[in-house]
Amino acid sequence: MAILESIKSLTELREKLKAKQAALSQKDNPQSTIQVKVTMATCGIASGSRPVYDFMKEELSKRNIPALVSQVGCMGFCYAEPTIEVTMPGKSPVIFGFVNTKKADEIIERFIRKGEVIDGVIPMNYETA
């Protein structure tokens, strides 16, 4: 990354990144893709989120499903770790709890591929500043 030389260059970079981010979730945007976030804070990792992260990354690509898999910090649902959040383009994010590789497989095959409603969804109960 290049050195930012002023508030202007920071603002420009932010706008560029924001636009890129927004495009990811827009339904008909050619840049859009499925986003998968895996909680990888100490608590998530301790309850087994790393294998889930690896599984998602490898299997989605093996199964030819274009997606952006990333690690994030704590979503706060300790009781249901490991948790992952899946956002389909144009839809609201859905959070799943108690995810192991078996559940991850079900999420890929049924929720992502077929759009079915599956259990294990955690209700989103906060708003973000």
């Binding site: 030389e5 002023s6 932010r14 804070a41 990333s70 994030v72 910090g73 706060g76 906060y126």
Partner: protein
């Protein structure tokens, strides 16, 4: 329905903490840029003061005022310290912020440096937080590469850099003067305040110490304005507070709620209620320095002042929920045990007094207590509070005082009736065989680890109370519910 609002946790679970681009896309470093190019240090401090932000590390001291005091002291060098020692048992708010959004803390510390006139920041972090340390290091490297940390930040001529210091592994090192001594390579012991660190701190230079969560609020306040922040919360406690919900609650986890949310909303609406549908008994806030809130506090809006009035304190945000199976005398003993371990030993009320409190509680839980002992607990607690040097000793009797205040009946039962209604204090219990139900299968006798059970096959068995260690193995094994606790 009670709502969570995430300010300090705004990016946790949203961004990849190892990608500065993610942080920037969510307005990261905009507050710093605005501050450096458009605002004077005084103006920033004014914004913070008007926002009403108070310290989230325990004391609740107004953040803007602290920054102003540090700014006003004349010195050739000043320091900014982020307190990431987080020693309360069961608390992990700060760890989550550092692991989920490390740039927020770096940005806020840099803003603090600009306001107070410091060019150096130090993060004092528990050695038990390796992932947080790693993510902080990654974040620092990235922000240096982009000219957002280090020399000549955003080409404005302002220099500020940050270093990491590892905690010494003691609870008392979270106390700011002990923390500073620990960083200086001295023993992690507190010293008398004043002088406050803002006036004379690290290497005798003015040092602004703030907690992780306090810092994490700052960039948002600059970006969204103090009016917005001050519109959330109660009259004297603005914004939100992150709580680590633990204990007998269904949804154990991290929540961030507006100040003024009630305990009932936190426990029943956000926390999903008590495990197994049992009855709520108490909630401990403020960790070992706090006290318990009871049923009568369920509808009290949680803020700094109401918690103090209820005999507890905000503390760093641990919230441990207890149900009917928890014995309040045993809870007080648990916290005192922690304090006795963690007292640095510098002053006698805390070093010796807490030990005596612990022994009295032990005596009561073993069924040997007297009514006088309860009075002794009260008096000694007051003396320790009044005469200890630092916050640890000054607050350590709180769990004793608040359980006596709210659950005096349970103390009386332990002392007078030699009974523990929650069946926690084992010394007072007896495992007994009900002759009518026992068929003499010998299962219990074979499973008793100390051979305390005797009886012939097909005969009623008997538990030798002298030998019994109250492990409960027999009761678990018996298929006929023939063993009961008296």
């Amino acid at each position: 329905m009670a709502r969570q609002i995430r300010i300090a946790l705004r990016n946790c679970g949203v961004i990849d903490p190892e990608r500065i681009e993610d942080y920037i896309s969510r307005d990261g470093y905009m507050a710093l840029a605005t501050v450096l190019t458009e605002l004077s240090p005084e103006a920033v401090i004014e914004i913070l003061k008007k926002s009403g932000l108070r310290g989230r590390g325990g004391g609740g001291f107004p953040a803007g005022l602290k920054w102003e005091i540090t700014r006003k002291v004349q010195a050739d060098q000043k320091y900014v310290v982020c307190n990431a020692d987080e020693g309360d048992p069961g608390a992990f708010m700060d760890r989550s912020i550092l692991e989920g959004d490390p740039h927020a803390v770096l940005e806020a510390m840099t803003i603090n440096g600009y306001c107070t006139g410091a060019s150096k920041g130090l993060i004092y972090i528990r050695a038990e937080y390796p992932l947080a340390v790693e993510r902080l290091k990654t974040a620092m490297k990235q922000s240096r590469e982009m000219g957002l940390l280090g020399n000549n930040i955003l080409q404005t001529g302002f220099n500020f850099d940050i270093d990491i210091r590892y905690g010494a592994g003691a609870f008392v090192c979270g106390e700011e003067t002990a923390l500073i001594h620990s960083m200086e390579g001295l023993r992690g012991e507190p010293t008398v305040k004043p002088p406050f660190p803002s006036v004379e701190g690290y290497l005798k230079k003015p040092t602004n110490v703030n907690n992780v969560e306090t810092f994490a609020n700052v960039p948002v306040i600059i970006n969204k304005g103090w009016e917005w922040f001050a519109s959330i919360g109660t009259e004297k406690s603005k914004g939100t507070k992150v709580f680590a919900l633990a204990g007998k609650i269904n949804n154990v986890g991290l929540v961030e709620v507006p100040m003024g949310t009630t305990l009932r909303e936190v426990i029943y609406e956000i926390g999903g209620g008590i495990q197994g549908g049992k009855e709520f008994k108490a909630a401990q806030t403020g960790g070992p320095s706090g006290g318990c809130l009871t049923k009568k506090h369920l509808d009290t809006p949680i803020d700094y002042d109401n918690l103090i009035a209820a005999g507890s304190m905000m503390g760093s945000g641990g919230l441990i929920v207890m149900d009917e199976d928890d014995c309040m005398v045993a809870i007080a003993k648990f916290y005192l045990g922690f304090t006795v371990e963690e007292s640095c030993g510098k002053c006698s009320p805390c070093r010796i007094g807490n030990k005596r409190l612990f022994e009295l509680l032990e005596k009561i839980t073993q069924g040997n207590g007297t009514m006088e002992d309860i009075d002794k607990l009260r008096n000694l607690s007051t003396v320790i509070k009044d005469t200890s040097l630092c916050g640890l000793g000054q607050s350590s009797p709180n769990p004793v005082l608040s359980t006596i205040e709210n659950f005096i009946g349970e103390y009386h039962e332990h002392v007078k009736d030699k009974k523990c209604r929650s069946k926690v204090c084992k010394s007072m219990m007896q495992y007994l065989v009900v002759p009518e139900k026992c068929i003499g299968c010998t299962l219990c006798a074979r499973n008793c680890p100390v051979n305390a059970i005797s009886g012939e096959r097909k005969q009623v068995h008997l538990i030798d109370q002298e030998k019994c260690i109250k492990c409960g193995a027999c009761m678990e094994k018996c298929k006929f519910n023939a063993i009961i606790i008296n």
